[in-house]
Symmetry: C2
């Protein structure tokens, strides 16, 4: 234990946000603290030892928080003093200053304690969260987290690596041209201070190695993050004439969030946002589509249903899907799978038309279950009366709001005709679905 | 849109927890709502349409919450009315009623809307969270979530599938016998109501298929969850004579959490907890170990360091590791990798002794950085003065407290001798580490 000075842990608890007025003196809190002291003494520990003297309070807080919703805060887990300490894979989200959409962040922090101060693992996470909850760019977020940790804990050095994922930004025209646009725009941003200030320092090599990012170095990470903005809204060209009432409205939102709409990075944001947002206007696309479908409907082969129904189950899988949640005005996107019956095994209208139907109903203000049913009803006019549709989507609102369920996703399905009544036919189709949700990471 | 009745969405927002007194009338909130109405009108939407009339408020709440820490709550994302709706992969944690340790849960919910009420996606998550934050068993948790959703939203049916992971429960003796005990105990619990009440109903087949649990059915899920408790503390045999002051202390904790210590499932919990907890007592294991090491130390081959240092780098990877965080009295566990130099490529004392050192320093109240350094210093007495130690661990306190960073993990490292000064040697060792953190899922 030579190198360890446990007298420095006290700084951690003192900096904590107190999470409930009077919590510390509530009888339940005091009873748990007393109980924990008994347990520690039972282990033969000195309950006044610096490293554990606040442990009874921490345990009381964690237990009461963990078994009751609504308590806030959380104390730290100290890393210690000595070599490099790394916390990997903290999930965060932030808001893109170029387009106002949320982006996801995998945050990795490394630091070399100075011997004077140590920091709780959860403090790293809290600091990163605080700076993420602003309109940000990846590089500024990395720099701000790094600077805050350097000033707050004064270590020998801090390094921050952010792997950021921005939702793709198709408009309704480009979605038709590029069906791969359902993916994510990814970037890695890094920031270092103290011994990490020099990106070529050996300590960065250790950090990359411990992160197990084989083949990634600060050089190629930086190369990727420099230059123009990563936000796909930036590459859509200059915003055209946007409705000025709408851009004024977005300006008003920026001000209400405490931002300066004249800040350089924000000047074009309202018109970019409006341009993209107008993709979801309530135009009468069904009418156009119905015309299109009607002109094709006679080309389909008669579904004679000779032989076993299940032998004729066909599918169009992984159709890209993009929509806007009408409750939060945030994107949800993923894939659509459609099953139908065809005695000759041929899609009578071709995959592009089916993809078009998906885009037509996606590019609106929607809820997932409605779009699922709309797709089913429309494709039944040219793929036959036996239809099964599954929509698998990630909802931006599920990661960027209080619940922050990063890995969750949603599936809906709709059935028509024989698929409503024949569980074997449903099972046959469902078991053919690809395992991975391509909307995920 | 025939089947959809958008008039039913209003129930969702009314049930929300209000998250800040006066939030609704704050000027920033009102300004954002005004702005959103302008944007919706710009899309050609009727802002009084049932489905979107609360959208301005939801957007204001989400944006202000997303760009500022500390706001609570979160409104729902409606699924709609019609077929089966599934939300997959909600990360939760709960506390095991048998041993008081947290366990992780992947929660999947399916429901068939009745046409009368729909439920927000985030509401499913909130309900599951509320019932998880109690002392629980997987089956009771599944049943309680299912019942609450059935009563709360009155759908045609609700199904809940929980994949639960309990940390393994070795004691210091069993850890030596079974080095694979670092993993997790896993169980699947299910509960269904309404159309899901019959576990053989076709709707369960659809649900399993949409979850993409190939080969899992309610039958084998149930078979696994029935019978004795899943908690590994139960299979350690009857608790022996435990220190009664300590068991009384645990009883006091149960009462302070609002639990009845006489509830059948909790009666043995205090003595089980104390029995396990005593594995971490502060005995003088170093002394025993030092004797052991001294008797072996002469067997090591002289490290002549002839030739290239890097050619003689040897390693013991993936040594299982188990410890108890002294700040929260919660386990952290994972793997230890040790690199050393040996000119003949042979570990002079064998892997079991190295594993013993890891267990000896792990089975205490610890912080990760200290145990890393203690291991390095001790193994240097028999593996030579050039030592590098990496500890990769998952901290239970990082998932079971306010921050709930489920995927995060922590790496620490310590270097002695030539590894301190030779970045190439460090890099060579670090790049040999296995990619996956075996402590993860």
């Amino acid at each position: 234990m030579g190198a360890l000075d446990e007298g420095h842990y006290h700084a951690e608890i003192d900096n904590e946000v107190s999470f409930e007025l009077g919590f510390e003196t509530q009888p339940e809190t005091l009873a748990i603290q007393d109980a924990v002291r008994v347990l520690l003494q039972g282990l033969g520990e000195d309950i006044n030892r610096e490293g554990i003297k606040k442990t009874p309070f921490r345990v009381a807080k964690a237990l009461r928080q963990g078994t009751r919703a609504g308590l806030e805060g959380g104390s730290g887990q100290a890393g210690g003093v000595g070599g490099l300490v790394i916390v990997r894979d903290l999930d965060l989200f932030s808001y893109c200053e170029s387009c106002l959409l949320p982006f996801q962040v995998k945050c990795h922090v490394g630091y070399v304690p100075s011997g004077k101060r140590v920091v709780g693992l959860s403090k790293l996470s809290r600091v990163a969260d605080i700076f993420a909850k602003r309109l940000q760019s990846p590089q500024r977020l990395a720099d701000e987290v790094c600077t805050a940790l350097q000033h707050g804990i004064k270590p020998t050095g801090v390094a921050v690596v952010l792997q950021c994922m921005h939702i793709h930004f198709p408009n309704i025209e480009s979605a038709f041209l590029d069906s791969t646009s359902q993916g994510w725009v990814k970037i890695t941003a890094t920031s270092g201070s103290g011994v990490f200030e020099d990106g070529n320092a050996d300590v960065w090599t250790d950090f990359w190695s411990l992160l197990k990012f084989r083949g990634i170095s600060i050089d190629n990470a930086h190369r990727r993050s420099s230059g123009q903005s990563w936000c796909p809204s930036q590459s859509c060209g200059m915003p055209g004439q946007a409705n000025s009432a709408m851009t004024n409205a977005v300006n008003s939102i920026l001000k209400s969030l405490g931002e300066d709409p004249l800040r350089e990075e924000l000047v074009e944001t309202p018109s970019r946002f409006v341009k993209w947002f107008m993709n979801f206007r309530n135009s009468n696309l069904e009418m156009k589509l119905n015309g299109f479908v009607r002109s094709r409907i006679d080309t389909r082969s008669p579904s004679g249903q000779v032989g076993n129904f299940n032998d004729g189950i066909c599918s169009e899988l992984n159709l890209s899907f993009w929509s806007q949640c009408e409750h939060h005005l945030l994107p949800f996107q993923g894939v659509v799978h459609i099953g139908y019956h065809s005695s000759d095994g041929v899609n009578p209208v071709g995959r592009p038309l089916v993809q078009s139907v998906v885009h037509f109903y996606g590019f609106k203000l929607q809820v997932q279950e409605r779009v699922t049913r709309q797709i089913a009803e429309t494709v039944s006019s040219f793929l036959g009366e036996d239809i099964i549709v599954v929509v698998e989507a990630n909802h931006t609102c599920m990661i960027s709001r209080g619940i922050e369920k990063f890995g969750s996703n949603t599936a809906t399905f709709a059935v028509l005709g024989r698929f409503s009544t024949d569980p074997v036919a449903r099972a046959k189709f469902l078991q053919s679905l690809p395992d991975s949700c391509s909307a995920g990471r």
